[in-house]
């Protein structure tokens, strides 16, 4: 290998010198000190024996399925089919359309099924909610299906008082018919009384059949109470719309049509509802093929650093509680600049005219929004109060965006989250007015605000029934627990956020004795059991005109099952009514806070985990081990604070602090995140489960315990004290600075226009020559990849997609802490610029498949070699595990099986694995293969059909899941292929190409589009 010298240009390229400023930054004493503080040395625990047991426990749990009844189809007995089912050909996977319900939305999916067992989840390419893409959450649901800790059968924990029977302490395993019998007794009683004293606490839904059954239930029990509540919901959003419009509506944001986006505390790329569509639309307007293309501009105002903030062209860091006043100031500025706004409203905002915010910023943003009338978009985060959502809607209306970049869909067939209803129910329970409470999904004992004290409320209820997938915290205090089926086992129908009607089809018979949501609600409403299939079909029939006849109906039904969704309802394009007066009155009544939280009275901000959501996915090992997109933490949550706050409070990473908020205390470790608002502590919800299963129990700290009933989203008055203890957090990336190295290459759009070849020019090196005649790869297929860093938002969907596709084991917290995580594609995150207002960039790094691969040359047993299609392949069977290849890999993408991470899978557990990919053994090196199994599959199909593989026919798992289409893969030997075209673009560069390793993966440089008026 020839040694190459890297010279970096000392003159700024295109006027802005990212790398030098970085260098300078890296040299500054402050930054060095921060690095030392933030990234203390060596985070390793001794005593591997113990940790090994721990991870095996974890690993076993992640795939375990012990005791699965062998008579079900997925238990593969070595007996051939006597009659082969028509649609099943062994070795050939089938794909079925289904949907995953999630709050008020649902995600259309296409699920791969191997011999009757679902193995991989993809987005349904036709479905508007995913358009073929997915997210880490969706991908991980396949593991959730095979979770052995799910409830397996009904359990009666104590007898109903009226029944006169007794149940042994600890409860007894039961069955559905016993429950049905018990329920029927209650049912007849309540039917007689009209449901007096009966209540259901449900999760929110947006599903026609559930809505139909709900009204059936309500008719049967007119005096009963139904409350839907989610700890993390869009309630603020639809309540805000309700305020201006009179009816709750769901806003639909069309990022693909927006030139200017202003996010007010909204992490719309990852944390908000329908983030996949948002990311896809946003990326569409950011995509640039040459220097003449335009891209949208993103302004973000937020308190904690989110992925959306990381993508911002301009980011204002404010405490969450300042954002409403900031919005008011912006509204006034818009008015000042001549945007037509109700004078009544403006009058009520006058007190925000004097403000501590950056006036220049406000002016420029207002000007931009005004100038791009109908092409701008203001989005408000779910954390912000309804009033702010109302103001957002008003601004969008005033800017002519409604019908263009934002539209509203109705909430028909929905039971949205209802905070007030919950409070009313709690009051009724407190007064002993509730005799029977059915908890229909959800885990209120864990995730209701601590201030509510649900645990003592529920004791005042005579009969309690809990229906949920796990025997969780709530299940332990009720009379009956009933297992809920996984959505991959259920028949349901559902609407996504835009109102699109989709069907949830089971991919497999329920693994355990569980019922789907519709089956259970049917039982509650009618006292009878009925199959979900019939219920759903009946719902669908009711939507058809009777005159259409059965043949048409059957055709439509089959079509629905095939496509997974029905017709897309056109969302309303305007808001007919605007009640400015209501909003103005509300503004008078509840003024926005205008003070700033200080270090002795900190702000606390709660945010939903992008991995565990509200805690429901806490037993999912893939998600637990997935590095957080911003903090890169795994297996824990932490109190996120800014470097300045950390310095002021004298705390550093891993320090355990005691948080006191409204009389409640919580102890958890601190993690310092540059770019967070000062004096604002962000807490991730969803951790600290005590009863979810072997993976998630005791992982992290339950932030709900600090949540307040009245203001659950954020508040002020938190105090933070150092306890003196430390707790090791496991992060997958210890260094956040690029050290001035040209890894992620980035320029502003303006600089790019001036210097279209900036990316390639950033590194100068002598001509790359070889001493030997190198193999030429010009024949046949030559596989290559291009990753557009301008599209990548760093959402981690690729990482989990890869984990699912390639049978990548999880290793557990201790192993991650010593640096042994196994992800084949990781997303590196780098900070640059100012420590307090950093710019953040993400870079997915799979194996680069170097043509001149340093790993291949050093393997003593030739276990990693090159194939003639340019792939750097691993022969696991040949690998003896010298790890020399990993040492010599400049990209550090190789992963090693330090222990036997997979040997606890028994015959049944193996069902969760992709049968097309080898499961690796202890002592073997592994790495990204460019999904070689998919390549081979497509080649086989093409060969059978007598043609060559078409461009786009092969999608790698990471590419397929990517919501922003940042990853392209194909034959670079075909000049017309998408990947070859992308590699022709002037932003294309090879990371560390100066080493003459000739990577097959290249990156397209990142661009930002800052406003020149704010650049100085």
């Amino acid at each position: 290998m020839t040694k190459m010298t890297t010279h970096r240009k000392s003159a700024p390229l295109g006027g802005r010198d990212y790398w030098r400023s970085l260098d300078e930054l890296a040299e500054s004493a402050e930054f060095k000190e921060f690095l030392l503080r933030e990234f203390p040395a060596g985070t390793v625990e001794l005593g591997s024996g113990l940790s090994r047991r721990n991870f095996l426990k974890m690993m076993g749990a992640s795939f375990a399925l012990a005791g699965l009844a062998a008579c079900r189809r997925p238990a593969e007995k070595i007996v051939p089919y006597v009659k082969q089912p028509e649609e099943i050909i062994p070795g050939i996977a089938n794909y079925y359309a289904t949907a995953m319900p999630m709050g008020l939305t649902a995600y259309g999916l296409l699920v791969k099924s191997n011999e009757g067992r679902p193995t991989k989840i993809e987005g349904n390419p036709q479905h508007p909610s995913t358009a073929g893409a997915s997210s880490a959450l969706l991908q991980a649901q396949i593991l959730g299906l095979y979770d052995p800790d799910r409830a397996r059968q009904p359990k009666q924990l104590r007898a109903f008082p009226a029944s006169g029977r007794t149940v042994a302490a600890g409860g007894m395993e039961s069955n559905w018919s016993s429950f049905v019998e018990a329920w029927r007794q209650l049912y007849t009683d309540f039917a007689r009384s009209g449901g007096q004293g009966l209540a259901i606490l449900a999760e929110s839904f947006h599903a026609p059949t559930l809505a139909r059954l709900q009204s059936q239930w309500q008719q049967r029990f007119p005096k009963a109470t139904w409350v839907s509540f989610d700890p993390v919901s869009d309630e603020n959003s639809h309540r805000g719309i309700e305020m201006v419009h009179g009816a709750p509506l769901l806003p639909q944001h069309h990022f693909d049509k927006a030139d200017i986006v202003l996010s007010l505390d909204a992490d719309f790329l990852l944390g908000e509802r329908d983030a996949i569509v948002a990311a896809r639309g946003f990326a569409k307007r950011r995509r640039v093929s040459n220097e003449r293309d335009d891209m949208s501009r993103l302004y973000v105002v937020e308190s904690l650093l989110t992925l959306t903030g990381a993508m911002a062209d301009h980011r204002q860091v404010l405490q969450s509680r300042q954002i409403p006043a900031f919005t008011a100031a912006l509204l006034l500025e818009l008015k000042r600049q001549g945007v037509a706004l109700s004078s009544e409203l403006v009058a009520s905002l006058q007190k925000y005219a004097v403000h501590p915010f950056n006036s220049r910023w406000l002016q420029v943003v207002a000007k931009e929004l005004r100038r791009h009338r109908g092409r701008s978009l203001i989005v408000v985060g779910r954390r912000q109060p309804p009033l702010l959502h109302a103001l957002g809607a008003l601004m969008n209306q005033a800017l002519g965006n409604v019908g263009q970049t934002v539209s509203y869909s109705s909430l028909n067939d929905a039971a949205p989250s209802d905070h007030k209803g919950l409070l009313a129910l709690a009051e009724q329970m407190g007064r002993g007015q509730i005799d029977t409470l059915v908890i229909f999904g959800g885990n209120p004992l864990y995730n209701l605000p601590a201030g509510m004290d649900f645990a003592s409320l529920i004791k005042k209820v005579g009969h309690t029934i809990h229906f949920s997938p796990y025997r969780d915290e709530t299940s332990r205090v009720v009379h009956w627990h009933l297992p809920q089926s996984h959505f991959l086992e259920s028949w349901e129908d559902v609407r996504s956020g835009d109102g699109c009607y989709s069907v949830v089809q089971p991919l497999i018979e329920p693994l355990f004795d569980s019922r789907s949501r519709v089956e259970f609600l049917h039982l509650l409403a009618t006292g009878k059991q009925r199959s979900g299939y019939e219920i759903i079909k009946e719902s669908f029939a009711k939507m058809q005109r009777r005159s259409d006849g059965e043949a048409v109906f059957n055709k439509r039904w089959r079509r629905l099952l095939h496509d997974g969704f029905g017709t897309v309802k056109k969302p309303a394009t305007t808001l007919p009514k605007f009640r400015y007066a209501t909003v103005a009155r509300q503004l008078q009544k509840t003024p926005f806070p205008q003070d700033i939280a200080s270090s002795d009275k900190l702000e606390v901000v709660f945010y939903a985990s992008a991995k565990l959501f509200d805690g429901r996915f806490a037993n999912n090992g893939w998600l637990q081990e997935l590095p957080d997109a911003v903090t890169k933490l795994t297996w824990d949550n932490a109190a996120l604070i800014s470097p300045k706050t950390a310095a002021a409070l004298r705390v550093k990473n891993h320090d355990v602090v005691s948080l006191n908020y409204k009389g409640r205390e919580l102890k958890l470790p601190v993690w310092i995140v540059p770019g967070c608002a000062d004096n604002s502590v962000a807490l991730e919800l969803g951790y600290g489960r005590s009863q979810c299963g072997r993976v998630g129990d005791g992982v992290g700290v339950n932030a709900y315990r600090l949540r307040d009933v009245q203001t659950p989203d954020y508040g002020v008055g938190l105090t933070l004290k150092k306890t003196g203890a430390t707790y090791k957090l496991a992060s997958t990336q210890d260094h956040g600075s690029m050290q001035g190295r040209p890894l992620i290459r980035e320029a502003t759009l303006a600089d790019y226009r001036e210097n279209p070849n900036f990316a390639a020019k950033l590194v100068e090196h002598p001509p790359l020559k070889s001493l030997w005649k190198e193999p030429s790869y010009t024949e046949g297929y030559q596989w290559g990849m291009a990753i557009d860093l301008n599209s990548c938002i760093g959402c981690n969907a690729c990482t989990i997609a890869c984990q699912s596709e390639n049978n990548i084991p999880i290793v557990g917290k201790e192993q991650v802490a010593v640096g042994r995580e196994m992800h084949w594609i990781r997303v590196d995150r780098y900070f640059s610029g100012d420590l307090h207002e950093p710019s953040v960039a993400h870079q997915p790094v799979p194996c680069q498949h170097c043509e001149n691969a340093p790993c291949e040359q050093v393997c003593p047993v030739a276990a990693t070699v090159h194939d003639k299609e340019g792939l750097n392949v691993m022969a696991y069977n040949r690998c003896i595990g010298t790890r020399y290849c990993a040492n010599n890999c400049p990209y550090k993408v190789r992963r090693f099986n330090y222990f036997n991470y997979t040997n606890r899978y028994d015959d049944v557990e193996k069902l969760a694995q992709n049968p097309d990919v080898t499961v690796r053994f202890r002592g073997v090196m592994e790495k990204c293969t460019f999904c070689t199994q998919r390549i081979e599959g497509a080649k086989a199909t093409a060969k059978r059909e007598g043609r060559s593989v078409r461009d786009g026919e092969i999608q790698t798992a990471c590419q397929q899941s990517c919501p922003t289409d940042a990853i392209s893969f194909g034959n670079i030997n075909d000049p017309d292929s998408r990947v070859a075209q992308l590699k022709q673009q002037n932003r294309n560069y090879e990371m560390l190409g100066e080493l003459n390793v000739k990577p097959r993966n290249s990156y397209l440089a990142k661009l930002r589009n800052p406003n020149p008026e704010l650049e100085s």
Partner: protein, 450 residues
């Protein structure tokens, strides 16, 4: 006038008597206690290896990016130690350095034992220990040859041939002394065993002629190997792309370092041995002083290499290279670097002073410090380079576990156990050769010392 090589003008007989008596003496309690202790440590070594076999190499501190940890550090360290023996016997023999005769036997033995210790590590550090034999070019049903482009493959040949030649050389040198021991043996068993080992040696003129020719040839064969082994070991690093490894100075730098550490280890052992077995008149201060001089020279060569690396990193203008060296001296593992510099560059400077280089306590402590420094040199090269290479996002540190420590300590246990056995059962000093440098062996120049 220089001091005589052997002090006190002993007779041939008294040399034979002195050296053989060590082998023929009864076991002392001290020896048994010491042997019990040191062989238990050797057992710890094998126990720790067994545990690694059972659990997987995850019990060590290795991770990504630190694919190699202490086992490879130990491997390079022990291979380095193994350099002095053959250098002393072969190269000094060819250069007619007659002072080598008092020390060559134990130096060669030390070489053999060090290479045995070293050779264990490549075998046990791999992930699938049960197939580590795939590194050897053995015909097999898979029709697979090893990858001849891999420096690890070259290591197999380099270390393998070095061990073989060293062993042969040592054994050939032992044959006349085995003859002596056989002739002196009183018990049947001793006669039998030494008889076999002496392969019919009778000290005849013709045998001596053949013997000396063979010895010369072997010395010629071994000489290039002294240089090649560590050169090839350095290729493990030098041919890679990792900043801090990818360095052309590595071969001479590694060889100098190996000789340096080898002599230090010989020194440590001989200072003890000559005291314990009262061999001060055979292993004289002159021998020790000569070795100290060699350590001074090689120590400075190593120091020069340290400086040169920094110069080249700066001169190349390669940012990655410069960052790697900055990191070495001032980064996370800076303490390791400065231990290395203090022990390897500063400590040998003591030997500029005659008083210090002839002081047994000083040289004993210095030799131990030098080996500490040389272990840290390998630690610094391997671990500091791996922990922070190209992509800062992948940086990560290595922290040893209990099993790393046990394996390092255990390897010393094995080494000293083997040496203890050697000192007890084989002649520590090459009697035949020492006699050759006595004045009476050269009757034509009586009274003249060499």
């Amino acid at each position: 006038m220089e001091a005589p090589l052997i002090a006190g003008s002993p007779s041939f007989g008294s040399i034979t008597e002195k050296v053989s008596s060590i082998v023929e003496a009864k076991f002392s309690l001290v020896w048994l206690l010491w042997f019990g202790f040191i062989s238990s440590i050797a057992l710890v070594f094998f126990g720790a290896i067994g545990y690694v076999f059972w659990e997987g190499i995850g019990v060590w501190g290795n991770n990504v990016p630190n694919g190699w940890g202490w086992p490879i550090v130990n491997f390079v360290f022990w291979v380095g130690i193994g350099h002095a023996g053959t250098l002393i016997s072969a190269i000094l023999f060819l250069f007619r350095q007659r002072w080598r005769t008092s020390i060559n036997r134990s130096a060669e033995a030390m070489t053999i034992f060090a290479v045995i210790c070293a050779g264990i590590f490549p075998g046990i550090h791999v992930g699938r220990i049960w197939v580590s034999y795939w590194m050897f070019p053995l015909p097999n049903q898979m029709d697979m040859w090893p990858n001849f482009r891999s420096p690890l493959m070259w290591d197999i040949f380099a270390v393998g041939s070095y061990f073989t030649v060293s062993l042969l050389f040592w054994y050939v040198g032992l044959i006349p002394d085995f003859g002596t021991l056989r002739d002196r043996a009183k018990s049947k068993i001793r006669q039998f065993i030494y008889g076999i080992l002496a392969v019919g040696w009778n000290g005849g003129n013709r045998q001596w002629r053949h013997y000396e020719k063979a010895y010369l040839l072997l010395a010629g064969l071994a000489t290039p190997l002294v240089l090649s082994v560590h050169t090839v070991v350095s290729f493990d690093f030098a041919t890679s792309v990792i900043p801090g490894w990818h360095t052309t100075i590595f071969p001479p730098y590694f060889v100098a370092g190996a000789i340096f550490s080898g002599f230090a280890m010989v020194m440590t052992l001989l200072v003890i041995v000559r005291k314990l077995y009262s061999l001060e008149h055979i292993i004289t201060m002159r021998h020790l002083e000569n070795m100290n001089k060699i350590m001074l020279v090689t120590g400075m060569m190593v120091g020069y290499a340290y400086g040169c690396e920094f110069f080249i990193a700066w001169y190349s203008g390669n940012d990655y290279e410069m960052a790697a060296f900055k990191n070495r001296a001032f980064g996370h593992y800076a303490w390791g670097y400065w231990i290395m510099v203090s022990c390897n560059v500063l400590v040998p400077q003591l030997f500029w002073f005659k008083r210090l280089r002839t002081s047994v306590p000083v040289m004993f402590v210095a030799s131990i410090l030098i080996n500490v420094g040389m272990w840290f040199e390998r630690f610094v090269i391997i671990i500091s380079s791996l922990s922070q290479d190209f992509l800062p996002g992948s940086w990560g540190f290595f922290k040893p576990t209990l099993w790393d420590i046990l394996i390092l300590v255990g390897s010393f246990g094995l080494f000293f156990t083997l040496f203890t056995l050697f000192a007890r059962f084989l002649p520590l000093i090459s009697m035949a050769e020492v006699k050759g440098v006595l004045p009476q062996a050269d009757p034509h120049h009586q009274g003249e010392s060499t």
